[in-house]
């Protein structure tokens, strides 16, 4: 292999695939990045067998070849390289990196041991608008669980059905639901749980100027293709629970709140309990047209008062403030509608002008 390229090209390739490098020591070759010179492109690949990423960058290829380089040191080296023309030369499994009159060499792994990333060619294909999908990820992913003991909750349920695209996430204490209307002329159907790690990477790698991303899937895997990037992920096995049964169909109290003012008040009210060991609980009391957000701890106490528009009964309820702040940060609408049915039923939050998003959180039972 002999290649001439820029530092930027190397950096783009390495940074794109780095998150897929395995952090476990099970198979040494998985701690590497596969670098392949082919057809005037450098191809970078990494996988931890759960997720694999491939990225292609332009380069001047004098001689084709392939190697697997230790990811951590290779990415550090690439980051520190000068902004100069760079030459890569592979000889006997040792990659020489030449710049100016300097050079360094790096011993690679045997590329034959590196697992192939399947292309899922021939499987069902679907094209999604990038802006819609990115927003759907942003508005739901925070509700995923991080507990590995319950795998189905560590991902988002993606459903494609007729002209509806749905993304749902829950950690069993709260649930975020987003639906969007899309064009689906071939009536493609899909339902699968995509790991949150995969969706985080897609969100990070998707550029705003990209219009579409193509997905291909079978029963166990899903592949996302956009720009020069291909990301393959396994789907989480298991049955996602029937989320519809937990969405309340009616409510006893409706609050119409300014999103930013409510967010600011909750943020201020939650400041006094930040010891990190206990959930940050704030109390909401609605009386007539006044909402009081209270918090008290050893540090002091705070009572935020908001004048609001209300329909229905007065209510006293307590929430983990994180559950409220997470959703208020991703709602772009000026006003939110908060629906409640007493102190123990889930509170529903939705943007006032967008019926396609819904978030529900369980209150905290206080004595």
């Amino acid at each position: 292999m002999k290649v001439n390229c820029s530092k930027d090209s190397l950096l783009t390739g390495v940074n794109t695939v780095l998150k897929a490098v395995s952090s476990k020591n099970t198979l040494p070759v998985l701690q590497g990045i596969l670098v392949k010179a082919e057809d005037q492109h450098l191809i970078f690949e990494a996988t931890d067998l759960e997720m694999g990423i491939r990225c292609m960058v332009p380069a001047h290829i004098e001689k084709e070849g392939v190697t697997v380089l230790p990811a951590r040191i290779f990415s550090d080296l690439v980051r520190k390289l000068p902004e100069a023309p760079i030459e890569l030369e592979l000889e006997n499994d040792i990659l020489k990196i030449n710049y100016y009159e300097s050079n360094l060499s790096l011993r690679g792994f045997d590329p034959d041991e590196f697992p192939l990333l399947p292309d899922l060619n021939g499987e069902e294909t679907f094209v999604l608008p990038v802006d819609i999908f990115k927003n759907m990820i942003r508005q739901t992913i925070f509700a995923c669980s991080t507990e590995e003991s319950r795998p189905v909750f560590t991902g988002c349920l993606l459903q494609i059905e007729e002209s509806n695209l749905r993304v749902i996430a829950t950690d069993t204490h709260r649930l975020a639901y987003r639906i969007a209307e899309i064009s689906n002329p071939e009536n493609c159907k899909f339902q699968g749980i995509i790991p949150a790690k995969t969706l985080n990477e897609i969100y990070r790698l998707l550029r705003d100027d990209e219009e579409n991303l193509t997905i291909r899937f079978n029963e166990a895997q899903i592949l996302f293709q956009f720009g020069s990037v291909v990301l393959l992920s396994r789907l989480i096995e298991g049955q996602f629970p029937n989320y519809k049964q937990v969405i309340p169909q009616s409510c006893q109290t409706k609050l119409f709140l300014n999103t930013r003012l409510f967010q600011d008040s909750v943020e201020r009210a939650s400041l006094l309990a930040r010891d990190g060991n206990h959930p940050n609980i704030i109390k909401l009391s609605v009386e007539s047209e006044r909402l009081s957000i209270d918090q008290s701890s050893d540090l002091g106490e705070i009572s935020e008062i908001m004048n609001i528009k209300k329909e229905g009964n007065d209510v006293n309820i307590a929430f983990n403030s994180k559950y409220l702040l997470d959703v208020l940060k991703v709602i772009e609408s000026e006003e939110v509608l908060v629906e409640m049915s007493g102190s123990y039923s889930p509170g529903v939050i939705r943007p006032l002008d967008d019926p396609n998003y819904l978030y529900l959180a369980l209150p905290v039972r206080t004595s």
Binding site: T172, H173, Q245, N320, L362, V364
Partner: protein
């Protein structure tokens, strides 16, 4: 030739007699089926009082079961089918409360 014709005639007569017998049996079978259906109905039909008792009993069992599940949940265990019997960690569970409220 005449023997063959004779044989055919005999077969025809026998078939006719079989057909007559089938036709004679048909209403008898029909009446048996009707009687069977009537007896089934009679067997299943309980007096109104008995029906009410069975419904009340079922409701009571359901109520007791719901109370037991609610008690179990309040003592800190999942009652949803996802994690039934496992300890509640990190607060209430949407699916347990959804299940208890639906009932």
């Amino acid at each position: 030739m005449s023997q063959l014709t004779q044989a055919l005639i005999e077969v025809e007569e026998r078939l006719n007699s079989l057909l007559e017998e089938v036709q004679r049996l048909r209403p008898y079978v029909q009446s048996l089926e009707e009687e069977n259906a009537r007896l089934r109905r009679e067997l299943c039909a309980l007096p109104q009082q008995e029906t009410e008792r069975v419904i009340a009993n079922a409701q009571q069992i359901q109520g007791v079961a719901h109370d037991n599940l609610e008690r179990l949940y309040n003592e800190g265990f999942h009652v949803c089918h996802l994690h039934f019997g496992q300890p509640l960690e990190g607060g209430d569970c949407l699916f347990c409360t959804g299940f208890l409220m639906r009932d």
